[in-house]
């Protein structure tokens, strides 16, 4: 049984003042190999908590994650992670960052060299191999983070707002890159984002989560990711159904936000 199965996950934090927060309640879903799922939701809906549980950084209070037939108990190279920023190693140059995973496995350069150099070329970093991380722009740094994750050849890639800190133009380029890499490598990807457009463009499946307690609100299956592979993403935005779905989801999230605000007002 391959793929990723999230089985009835609940997460409750106890706060120092004695109360507790239900960050996630009974979240279940299955991902088949090669699926790209984007996750949307207002702040506080538990998206990042869910991702951290899947990555193995947090243990859920209930439920379990089953990956390739075994239960997840901690982080592992089979589940790679791309962070928003700050996860690169400044003391290594670009190539050493990208080859970190294979090197930690004890592979020699003969084993990883060609693969790493290929990834560097694919992500447009071919000319920056020996640069220090702090010499790169934000977009370049995220390319390094993507390449580093791919070089380790994980089964699932977890992306926690990987493009959130980038400017609009760089972001659009990077979205195209993510789609290209997804098709070329056939990886299973979970992508968390704040941007409805990004979720629509990249998500083969799109999960909208609701807050308090964090839960799955609605799931979509969308054609736009497949359309976008190798195409101009601006054309995809003109495709049939794109605008209406975007409005629908925006409305949904607006309502959730307003509900939170109303509830917070009432609590006061």
């Amino acid at each position: 049984m391959s793929g990723l199965s999230i089985q009835n996950i609940s997460m409750r934090f106890d706060l120092p003042n004695g109360s507790s927060v239900q960050a996630l309640q009974n979240v279940s879903l299955d991902l088949k190999p090669g699926e790209l799922m984007s996750v949307l939701g207002p702040s506080g809906c538990g998206k990042t908590t869910l991702l951290n549980i899947v990555a193995g950084f947090l243990a859920p209070t209930d439920g379990k994650i089953v990956m390739n037939g075994h239960t997840v108990t901690g982080p592992d190279a089979e589940r790679g992670m791309v962070f928003q920023q700050g996860a690169l190693f400044e003391w290594m140059d670009v190539r050493s960052n990208v080859s970190f995973g294979p090197r930690m496995k004890g592979q020699s350069e003969a084993q990883w060299g060609a693969h790493v150099d290929h990834l560097l070329d694919v992500t447009g970093l071919g000319g920056f191999k020996d640069k220090a991380i702090y010499e790169l722009s934000g977009g370049m740094q995220q390319r390094v983070a993507l390449a580093r994750c791919l070089a380790n050849d994980p089964d699932v890639i977890l992306m926690d707002e990987p493009l959130g800190a980038l400017d609009a133009l760089t972001r659009e380029k990077m979205q195209g890159l993510v789609l290209k890499l997804w098709k070329e490598t056939g990886k299973t990807i979970i992508l968390i984002t704040h941007s409805v457009e990004e979720a629509l463009l990249l998500g083969e499946r799109l999960l909208v989560m609701a807050p308090r307690p964090g839960r799955i609100h609605k799931e979509y299956r969308l054609p736009f990711a497949d359309m976008g592979v190798g195409a101009d993403l601006r054309d995809v935005k003109k495709a049939e159904g794109y605008a209406s779905t975007r409005e629908e989801i925006l409305e949904m999230i607006w309502d959730m936000e307003e509900e939170i605000m109303g509830r917070t007002e009432a609590e006061k």
């Binding site: 190279a77 962070f83 700050g86 996860a87 970190f100 995973g101 930690m104 220090a132 702090y134 380790n152």
Partner: protein, 424 residues
């Protein structure tokens, strides 16, 4: 008084050179900073003015030289020196019967530290005879004027005037020749004008300090050459710091990585950190004596806590996403330690090392002041007991230069080893 004059001169040079440099140096560059119109309040627009630094250092040497009569400074810049040379004054002696007679005292004033030599003058006539006195500059001397007089103080004769000005047991006299007073027994106390220059015993001129450096580096002081003294101090600092870092860094890592270690050592570290190392000197001397062991243990203790806290801060400062990323890439705990935590903590450790080296250097000098048979601190302490101010000054300058050098060296190493510091 002299201090106030020095301060005024210093302020005058500070202000004067500011306006001079501003008038002379036109803005020649158009870099970004020089184009800023708002500079007051913008710390990044404030850079160290190179001319000011150079003039500042030169001013110190200039004032030092001017007020010590240095040969390195043209003599028209010298502060008025003490009177040196031959001078004379006339005293009026009144005998018990009221008759008066004048006699002249010839005074030969020789420079600081020179030998005085007696000389003879013609005694002249009358019952008060002329005298000859030899003395050092900036000193006062008691003139027993009546040793050759025909009527002496024991005959109830007394001095009533100097150069025609009345003087009495309670009336002091300040003339161009110098200051006069009468002692309880009626002898003349005379001090020629002392000028504004410092005596070498308070502040020797720069060239005296330099010649001391040369002399002591060749011949040594207290059985050891200068380099041996400084070498001992440096050796103690390096050894103490080495052992402090050797134990402190792993301790800090352990405290940053394990609850048990942190709980166990936190009370000790937090207690020892605010204890100044200088306060440990007496205890260290009681326990280990004044030899090398005690000194190195003292410096070990001085650097241990600083390095432990720096290493702990380095571990705490690691961005958790880096650790998460490394785990997700399949790194083991040991690999995360080796490839993430240690390199990530290096900037903090270097900051700590710079502080620790500074503290150790200060502590070693203080420890040597208390007790040592070699070392920079011991050298200036012993010299001060013999009032060898030039050696004391030389020691202080060398200690400052070496401390400065250590810091520059540490910064160089830091820039080479952790180029990413402050740029992530």
């Amino acid at each position: 008084m002299t201090g106030l004059i020095i301060l005024l001169v210093y302020v005058a040079i500070f202000v004067g050179s500011f306006f001079l440099i501003r008038a002379l140096v036109r803005r020649t560059t158009n870099d970004f900073t020089s184009l800023k119109t708002v500079t007051f309040g913008d710390e990044s627009a404030v850079t160290s003015n190179r001319s000011a630094s150079i003039i500042s250092v030169l001013t110190i040497f200039l004032i030092w030289g001017a007020f010590t009569g240095s040969n390195w400074i043209p003599s028209f810049l010298h502060a008025p020196g003490p009177f040196v040379g031959d001078t004379s004054f006339t005293y009026t002696l009144e005998a018990a019967d009221g008759s008066r007679d004048d006699a002249t005292v010839h005074v030969r004033v020789v420079g600081f530290g020179e030998e005085t030599a007696n000389f003879e003058v013609d005694p002249g006539d009358g019952f008060a005879k002329d005298d000859a006195v030899s003395m050092n500059a900036s000193r006062s001397t008691t003139i027993l004027f009546d040793r050759n007089d025909e009527i002496k103080r024991s005959d109830d004769a007394r001095v009533v005037a100097i150069n025609g000005e009345a003087i009495g047991p309670d009336t002091d006299l300040t003339l161009d020749v110098g200051r006069f007073a009468l002692t309880d027994k009626g002898a003349i106390s005379f001090a020629p004008p002392s000028g504004l220059q410092m005596e070498p015993i308070w502040l020797p001129p720069p060239e005296a300090v330099v010649s001391r450096v040369i002399e002591i580096s060749n011949d040594g002081y207290r059985d050891s050459t200068l380099w041996r003294h400084l070498g001992y101090s440096l050796f103690r600092v390096v050894a103490g710091f080495f052992f402090g870092a050797l134990l402190g860094i792993p301790l800090g890592y352990a405290m940053g990585l394990s609850n048990w270690f942190r709980g166990w050592f936190e009370p000790i570290v937090e207690f020892m950190r605010p204890v100044p190392p200088l306060a440990l000197i007496p205890l260290v001397i009681i326990w280990f004596g004044i030899g090398e062991t005690g000194k190195i243990i003292l410096l070990f203790l001085a650097s241990l806590w600083i390095m432990a806290i720096a290493a702990r801060a380095g571990v705490s400062g690691v961005n958790i996403t880096k650790v998460h990323a490394a785990y997700s890439l399949g790194a083991s705990k040991f690999q995360i330690m080796r490839h993430v935590i240690v390199p990530n903590s290096l900037p903090e450790i270097f900051t700590g090392a710079r502080v620790a080296m500074g503290v150790c250097w200060g502590t070693v000098v203080a420890a040597e002041l208390v007790a040592a048979s070699e070392g920079a601190g011991m050298m200036i302490m012993v010299a001060s007991k013999f009032q060898l101010t030039d050696i004391v000054l030389m020691g202080i300058i060398l200690i400052g230069v070496i401390g400065f050098g250590i810091d520059i060296l540490m910064r160089k190493i830091e820039r080479t080893l952790v180029p990413w510091k402050g740029r992530s």
